[in-house]
Amino acid sequence: ACGGARSSDGGQPSGGSAAQQPSGGAQAPADAGAEAPSAGESAQPASSLERIKAEGVLRVGIDASYPPMEFVDEDGKTPIGFDIDLANAVAEKLGVKADFTIIDWAGIQAGLLGGHYDVIMSSMTITEERQKEMDFVQYLTMGIAYASRPGVEVRSDADLDGKIVVVQEETTAQYYVEDLMADKGIQPKELRSFPYATDAFRELANGRADVVAIDAPVAGYYAQLDPDQYRVTGFAEMDPDPIGIALRKGETELREALQKAVEELEAEGVLRELQVKWFGDAAGQ
């Protein structure tokens, strides 16, 4: 129940992004593309899909601190993970290569909107707020899990009360806990946020904090990695959120191409394979 492939009837809110009217991205080419989505407009600059194809590179922004979704190999530098494999597969569908830009999560959206890369494939949850700025192509769903330090049992939202809670900054897990605090009166002893998910788990390991709230696959990864230090003791009381590829608004052609690629990968069972590869048996039922 904590992570699953996008299903056609899955938890996508409002069928959202695909139907959304293009409302202007940050870049002039994007704007132009938005107003004239048909590729036939010779007077307009090439759409971003055309540019990607011309360059032969799909530039992908990732926060490489989020195992097993995206992290670095043991050499300390090569990006690996579910999203990396998926991005490579998607790029292949577009007939190009994926090129990864590693950037802090808190700045990942600004980097996309600024035009430093074409898409974000970094387990980004599709939220209403984010949809105001970006379009999405969904490919997974994820819930939020609570990973506790040995001796602490956080089973439910209410159990966060009085605990030192750690999150990665500017993630939906942080927003979720903040909402609990604001709306449900749950009062953690402290809500501590770090740039990287790996920092959050280190807090558990050295006992400086009680619980990490984070996307379930990541919690599961750590629990598997070192069961003595990390245990998944509970889940946020919510429906799994949709996860998607983020792109600038109005790049309709690109969005459609990505959508098509994801659908094909799902149909071919690739998505499923990747889940098994990266989440193991526990994943994606």
Binding site: Q109, E170, D199
Partner: protein, 218 residues
């Protein structure tokens, strides 16, 4: 324009909250850093290698490596070596050690810039080294210390922008949070810059006023 004003009204309270933390962290670190720096400076100019060697190592180590690395070492590596420090104290420790190394060099330079004749005159009157340092040399360094110390204080203020890596919520972190939630990058950054500028410019202004006052004596 109306939107800009609206954003501003949203941004300012957040930034003010961050500024408070920034100032608190700066002030505490400056305090401990100055004490540490004074000790290290006196140790370095002494002629006893029992003092000079560790002081020199300390100063070179902390001036020779990035602050970010120092913060991460204190926060992430010390627990592995058995020393667990909470975020805010860890930040204060890191910034104090770092600024202490710089302040040590500032104080040392100031002491060494005092004419050798001052120490000689004091010693020739029968004053001991410690007495001469305390009554004659150090008081004369104050005016010379002022500009570099204010620089260091400014540097410290700006450097606290790294504290978010160890989960301290200060001005810069609030600022980047706001950017990530609203996507108002340049507006937020301009306001954030203004906040830092107000602090650093106020420091310089206070310093130059104080300097004039000290100068009045001749």
């Amino acid at each position: 324009m109306a939107r800009f004003i609206e954003h501003t009204l949203n941004i300012l309270p957040v930034l003010f909250e961050g500024l408070g933390v920034t100032l608190k962290l700066t002030a505490l670190s400056a305090l401990f850093g100055t004490l540490l720096g004074l000790l290290a400076a006196l140790a370095r100019i002494s002629r006893n290698p029992l003092f000079t060697v560790p002081a020199t190592l300390y100063v070179n180590l902390f001036r020779g490596t990035p602050l970010l690395l120092q913060l991460l070492f204190i926060y992430n590596a010390l627990p592995q070596l058995g020393l667990l420090i909470q975020p805010f104290p860890a930040a204060v420790l890191g910034y104090s050690l770092n600024s202490g190394a710089y302040i040590a060099e500032i104080i040392r330079a100031a002491i060494q810039s005092i004419d050798r004749g001052q120490m000689e005159a004091a010693r020739s009157l029968g004053m001991s080294y410690g007495l001469a340092m305390r009554r004659i040399i150090l008081p004369q360094t104050y005016r010379r210390l002022l500009p570099p110390m204010v620089n260091e204080l400014s540097a410290l203020t700006k450097d606290t922008s790294l504290a978010s890596t160890i989960s301290i919520l200060e001005l810069m972190k609030y600022s980047s949070q706001f950017v990530s939630r609203t996507n108002l990058a340049w507006q937020t950054y301009v306001w954030t810059a203004a906040f830092y500028l107000v602090v650093t410019m106020t420091l310089s202004a206070l310093a130059s006023r104080l300097e004039k006052k000290l100068e009045a004596r001749g």
